[in-house]
Symmetry: C2
Subunit: 204 residues, 2 copies
DNA sequence: TTCTATTATTGGACTCAGTACAACATTACG
DNA sequence: CGTAATGTTGTACTGAGTCCAATAATAGAA
């Protein structure tokens, strides 16, 4: 569960993985996430039920392919930041870089789902797992660049706050429907909301 | 799942509910959350398996009794705040009021669990559902006091950030073990980390 | 091409959480 | 004492997720 799915985007649409993703997307839209069984998905994809679990550790993972890929890319971006640079500014820049690549059409399944038919709670919980993964990531990054423990209250608060703001950006972006602006703009605004205070607390 | 369990604390320790809670707590410590089945819990509690579901909608709910109660109380506190007061300050005050009542011993089961034996992911996801519930709560509160839409990016970012910071406070407090200071102190520090920036963004 | 070592796919059997519903017990209360 | 509400239980079911061993498919070396 919740593991990264490195760059699942842009793969041949005939690999088992892609076929499963497509079948799932269709069925979720037709019948709702909750009412779709893994058996139905694999049946439509023309593979066995077990094959599903070769590619996804949980049913909900298929909802978050885009987001998982984005988090994977963020991981790499953050690792590439050299020591001794302003942590928050780099954090923001890295996030915007990752998000710049995401077209207005590539909305995570879970979020459109939520839009079309309020599957809310079901899907939401699995989304939160991503928030947590991103929090961890950010906490480690901040800790490294601020020479603090990643378990530090200061670091954890900041990481959670940032991850929460990022999450809000995704959510609002997805809900804005067809007329939505690029994700990076939302992300930028969300950062503005929290980062002023964080800068003050973190640099000291 | 994730529903509030209004004030479960301070009830006679012989009601089915309390008996189940106690049995679960014991078993989780003995065998880990993951390796404990609902059947085992109810067996030790001397009730039927179904009775468990009369009181908890999910196995993980029993981990979060304390936290759910705290969120319920926060809900009431926030509803009681009269219009036209500084939203963030009131938010902080309400949180501290709620948390003041929580003794150093009343650590949520899930968090001690995590300490004793890293059941991590399993329990963590269910904890995040609480973070979400609190986010919603805060978003509604902020929206009301700032005359904005609760779906607003600004409002959502702030709410998520605050909820994340609160979460961090709980986590660190729990992990600090026996020598921990009162939860309110952690909460206060966590607020400091984010609120400066939020004040700037929100009042305008 | 043929052999071989990986890797992908499958079948089958299993555990357990969560749901639905009807029957039964208990309690409160007029 | 009778009745309605509430708590508890039994039974039967669905579906996610795990485990493991068997079988295909494939790539790469010889």
């Amino acid at each position: 569960m919740v593991q990264g799915t490195p760059n699942a985007v842009g793969r041949p649409r005939t690999s088992s993985r892609a076929v499963i993703e497509d079948a799932a997307a269709e069925l979720f839209l037709e019948n709702t996430y909750a009412l779709t069984t893994i058996e139905q998905i694999t049946q439509r994809a023309g593979v066995s039920r077990n094959t599903f679990f070769n590619y996804f550790a949980a049913k909900s993972d298929v909802l978050w392919v885009e987001l998982d890929a984005a988090i994977d890319r963020l991981t790499l971006e953050l690792q590439a930041v050299p020591e001794g640079r302003p942590a928050l500014a780099e954090m923001r820049a890295a996030t915007l870089r990752v998000v710049a690549e995401i077209g207005v059409d590539r909305v995570p399944l879970a979020l459109t789902q939520d839009d079309v038919m309020g599957t809310a709670e079901e899907t939401r919980v699995s989304g939160l797992a991503r928030l947590a993964r991103r929090s961890d990531l950010i906490a480690v990054f901040l800790a490294r660049h601020l020479n603090r423990d990643p378990e530090d209250l200061l670091v954890l608060s900041a990481a959670n706050a940032l991850s929460g703001a990022i999450s809000a950006a995704w959510t609002v972006w997805a809900r804005d429907g067809i007329g939505r602006r690029p994700l990076a703009e939302y992300m930028s605004e969300a950062f503005d909301v929290v980062s002023a205070g964080l800068t003050a607390s973190l640099v000291e």
